[in-house]
Structures are given as structure tokens and as C-alpha cells.
Symmetry: C2
């Protein structure tokens, strides 16, 4: 089959590799309906994350089950499924508390920018759709696998809701879908922080009521200006740098909530500032599995259209161009057709 392999920074190639096979009785093999590049894939692409050697890329997926291991009971070949970027048993105490991405048996997912992939712990990880979805729903279901589920978690972690002003730091797919999630949760006012017109437009379409183009301290001042000097009730952080984390904390009022989902890179939070900020801080790898049934329902009922974040579609063979387009911010998120 064809699969996307990263050989090093800025060196992404689509190559012919062996088809994946069932390794554990709890595995499933799925044929990808679509694949995509994640903002977090850009960390190794840009050399910020070290990769040990050639790495099969991709952790977002939606597709059709083609084979299951002998212990798999909840999904079967022919079913269309969506899963999360962490495989989880969905039965342990941590899973049952809603933190499947912290499952005691969790396994990372890799290799979804390909034709086929192996999904471990299939029973706990995969959620089947009621029937094979229409083609127009596939991008949204793929988004549910990570960027939507992550934005959703961030909005919950930030306690977005009725009467709340929500600020969103980061205008990548996750930040934009954080806007969508905050709107779904009933937030009164949603301030998207973005200086890119196409992203501003999509933010508005997803429910943003205000756009702030400033960043850092200037951006914080603008948020305070818009909130009686107090800061937002809820702030979604979807970047993962020191600047963006501090921007998020400083944009939040005393007693407010920061939901952070940008994978922290070189972030060190100054304890005394955090102490006196009085914010609630919660985040980490989103427990997407918790939200999948609800997200799938909303997508299939056309209540949300998260697939709108894909503003460029390429054949799988052009994965290298997909990485370049996202790296250069020419595209918000690229859909790859296997």
C-alpha cells in the first residue's frame, strides 16, 4: 500500500510499504476514507520534535473496517468507524472517568496518512456510524478524530457556556473548531484571535462574534478592553508555545478557566504569576473518544460542519505538498485522498 513516511525535518515521502496486519487479537485494520495532516505533525516537520528514524505519519482517521482480531466484538468488517489519536480500552477507571487519552493501556496511533492502518484496542477505540456515511460527511467525521474532538475538549476544559465570554488563542484548525465548540456550548461571546483573513472568516462562520488581531501583551489588552477590564471567563489555548500560554492565562479573569490543548513546547509556567492569576488550568491530549458518539450524531444530523476546516484537498501521493502548504500557512488543514 501507499503510506506517508517522514524521514526527517521537511522530508516527507509517500512510499510503498507492506500492508498492516493484525498483530494483537484486539486489533482492527481499516481502509482510510480520507486522511489529513495535523498541526502537531508540523512539530517534527519543522525539527522541533525529534523523530528516531523514518516514521509512518498520521493519527487522524475515519474509514471502513476490513479485518478484526479474534477478540474484537463491537465492530466488524464493512462498518464505517471513527477513532481517536490514542487507542484506549474504554473500560479502565481513567477511561470511565472520561479521560480515555489517559487510559492505563493507551497506545499512540500512527500511520493513518496511508491507504490502510492498524488500530489497536479496537473495541475501546473505534465508534461505528449507524451506516456508511455520505461522502460529504467524511471530512467532518475525519475532523472528529482529532481537531474537532480537541477543540471540543478545550471548550469544555475552559468551561465555555451560556453567559460566558470565550477567547480563543490560535487560529489553526483546533482553535477554529474551539470556536465552533464554544458556540455549540452556548457561549454568549466568542473572541477569535487571528490575523489571517481566511481564518477570521471561518471563525465568524463557526460562531465568533469578535476578532482580535493583536498578539501577546497587546492581544491581552484588547481582550481586557472587550471584557470590562476583567478578562474572558473562558480561554482556549490551541498553539502550545510560551507566548500563547501566557497570552491565554493573562486573558482570563480571576476565577476563569483556561483550556489548553496546544502540545506544550518549551513552556515553563511561572508559578507566582499563575498563583495570582487565579485561573483554572486544564488541558492535555484531548479524550476525543469520550465525545465521538455525540460528535458523530451532530455531524450526521448536519448540526455542525467541522469539515469546513479542510480548505485544500490533495491526493495522498502529494502528502509532501500538504505538509508544505500547512507549514507555510497556505492551508488551514489539508485533506488527503488515499
Amino acid at each position: 500500500m501507499r503510506a506517508t513516511i517522514m524521514h526527517g525535518p521537511r522530508d516527507v515521502r509517500v512510499e510503498t510499504v507492506d500492508d498492516p496486519t493484525i498483530l494483537e487479537p484486539t486489533d482492527a485494520i481499516i481502509r482510510l476514507a480520507a486522511a489529513c495532516v495535523c498541526g502537531s505533525d508540523l512539530w517534527p516537520y519543522r525539527g522541533h520534535d525529534h523523530t528516531a528514524g523514518p516514521t509512518a505519519m498520521g493519527h487522524e482517521y475515519a474509514g471502513t473496517v476490513v479485518e478484526t482480531g479474534s477478540a474484537v466484538t463491537t465492530v466488524e468488517p464493512g462498518q464505517f468507524v471513527v477513532g481517536s489519536f490514542f487507542a484506549s480500552d474504554n473500560t479502565c477507571e481513567i477511561c470511565r472517568s472520561g479521560y480515555q487519552s489517559g487510559c492505563v493501556h493507551r497506545q499512540g496511533i500512527g500511520g493513518s496518512q496511508a491507504e490502510l492502518m492498524r488500530v489497536p484496542l479496537a473495541d475501546g477505540t473505534l465508534v461505528a456510524t449507524p451506516q456508511t456515511p455520505e461522502t460529504r460527511h467524511v471530512p467532518g467525521l475525519l475532523a472528529a478524530s482529532d481537531v474537532l474532538g480537541t477543540g471540543w475538549f478545550a471548550a469544555h476544559a475552559a468551561q465555555a457556556g451560556p453567559g460566558r465570554t470565550v477567547a480563543v488563542v490560535g487560529d489553526g484548525a483546533v482553535g477554529l473548531l474551539g470556536v465552533l465548540a464554544a458556540r455549540q456550548l452556548g457561549a454568549e461571546r466568542i473572541i477569535a484571535m487571528s490575523r489571517h483573513e481566511s481564518r477570521q472568516n471561518l471563525a465568524r462562520e463557526f460562531g465568533a462574534t469578535d476578532i482580535v488581531t493583536e498578539r501577546g501583551d497587546e492581544g491581552v489588552r484588547r481582550i481586557k478592553d472587550l471584557t470590562n477590564g476583567l478578562g474572558a471567563h473562558s480561554v482556549i489555548e490551541a498553539v502550545g508555545t510560551q507566548e500563547s500560554m501566557l497570552q491565554a492565562v493573562r486573558s482570563t479573569r480571576a476565577g476563569g478557566h483556561v483550556g489548553y490543548v496546544g502540545v506544550s513546547h518549551d513552556v515553563n509556567l511561572p508559578g507566582l504569576e499563575l498563583f495570582f492569576s487565579h485561573v483554572h488550568l486544564h488541558g492535555g491530549p484531548a479524550p476525543v473518544r469520550q465525545y465521538l458518539p455525540e460528535l458523530i450524531d451532530l455531524i450526521l444530523a448536519d448540526k455542525i460542519d467541522p469539515g469546513r476546516v479542510f480548505d485544500l484537498t490533495l491526493p495522498l501521493d502529494e502528502a509532501a505538498e500538504a505538509y508544505r502548504a500547512m507549514d507555510e500557512r497556505r492551508a488551514i488543514k489539508v485533506l488527503l485522498q488515499p
Copy 2:
């Protein structure tokens, strides 16, 4: 009157100073029924916090109103009152959300290790007891002013409650009263981390079910051993150092809550570890004012006895010895009699 002045590290003197006077129409003057030394007073005492010059010490207080400014309407001379270590208007949006210690008009309190003190924003800050309390309740009411209110906030921030295992990092007065608060909130299991016998005993008396004497990584391992390898649901951090914060975060399960109230000193939280820890982090200066009515009721009804943290009583003139006894950990908390 007599007041406690810190002239520099380890230089505490009780001196005769002018009586405080009403400076603003919203002020009240109170005669202290008792005073005390706070763990946080040890930061400047030990030279970790810089003081600009001679400083009137003390921010915990309970006593009788002797004079009020012209704008004060809710308390009057003769009433017994308890307040918090931050004066607050109790009417702004932040106060109304329960974060009086983040009040937009908040003012620090100082000078309560004395015979008399001035309390700003008296209407918002002070809570009167139904009648003049019996002497035996005075230590508890004084504790409510800070250490009890702070332990209470920490237990709420850590979401201690039924079915939860709570670990408490720090065996000072705040940590011990965090144990008491967790018990009041119905926690199933409370693990006090302490290596001092007298503090262990008081922790048990306040409701601790387990004692862990190890610290740092070894302490974390013990907490994991006691919680099926997962960590506690709720962890109260009541120290404020890098080691104690990391001990708290690492002792908490994925999805669990850290309530931190030790004033952070030289703390820098590593972003990536925090990200993957999946904990909720909340803390800061406790909004004691929010809890005072409830705490006063519980104390006067003899449902809790937080005054037990005072294990040494000295006349105000011996304040210097009070600081020494706490610095050397000969006393958990010292009550000063003006």
C-alpha cells in the same frame, strides 16, 4: 498601642506605635481578640521575600469593632467580626463570582499582630458573628480568617468530595486544615504527607485516614501504591515550592484536581509534563470571604475545631519567639494574645 514590626530577616520586634485611625469612610478599626503568625510570614522572615523597610506584620484577624468610617453600614462598634487577608468590596463581578481575593478593588491587609488594626472596605470584608463568641471559639474564628479559609479553598479547588481519595502535600496549618476541609466535604480517604509526629496526630484527629512520610518521587510512589497506581483524585498543595508543586501534580491521576495554595516561590511548571499529566490546576490566594459565613457557623456550632492548629500561645510581646518557634517547626501555629 503595641504592634509587631519586621525590620528585616529574623528581626521581629514588638513596638509602641500610633493607634490606627479611619483613613477612608469605608474603613473600620477593630481591637484584636487574638493574633497569630502565618506560614507565609516566614517567607520574609527567612529572607525569601524582600521587605522594603520596617513592616507591620499580620494579616489574620478576629476582634471587636471599635470605630467605623461614615460610609460603613453593615458592621458597628461592639460587634465581633472576622475578615479575610484581602479586603474586598464584595460587590464587583469578580467578588460575586466567588473570587473576593481577586476583587477589582482588593487591598492587602497588614498589621494584625497588634492590639488594633484598620480594615479597609469594612462592609465587603468583615463578617459579624451573631453575638460575641465564647473565648474557646476565638482561636477557631481567627483560623477562619486565613489558614482554615485557605485549606477550605484548596479542598474545593481540588474537588475533594464523596468517593474521592485526597492527598495533602504540606503539614503546616493550611495543609492540616485542608485535611479537615476534605473530611467536611465527605472525602472517602485522606492521605496526609507528614514526617512530624505531632502534625501526623493532628492530621488524624482532623480526619486523615493514611499518613505518608516520604517526599518527592518516593512520596509520589507511595501515593500511587495507595491508589491502584493511578494517583489521588484530589491533591492539596500547601507549601509553594517547586518540589511540592511537582509532588502534587505527579500524585494526581489523569483528570484529577490539584488545589494549590502555598504561595509559589521559584516555581516554574514544565509545560509538557503538565500537558501530559491531564490534571486540573487551580489555586491562588484563597477567597476566604466567600466561605466565612459557613465557617463561622460550623465553628460556633462546634462542628469543626480548627483552633486546634494553635499549639503554642504567647503574649503579643513575645512575637519574636512566636516567629522563631514556627521557623524552627517547634510549633505548628502560634496564637498571640494582645
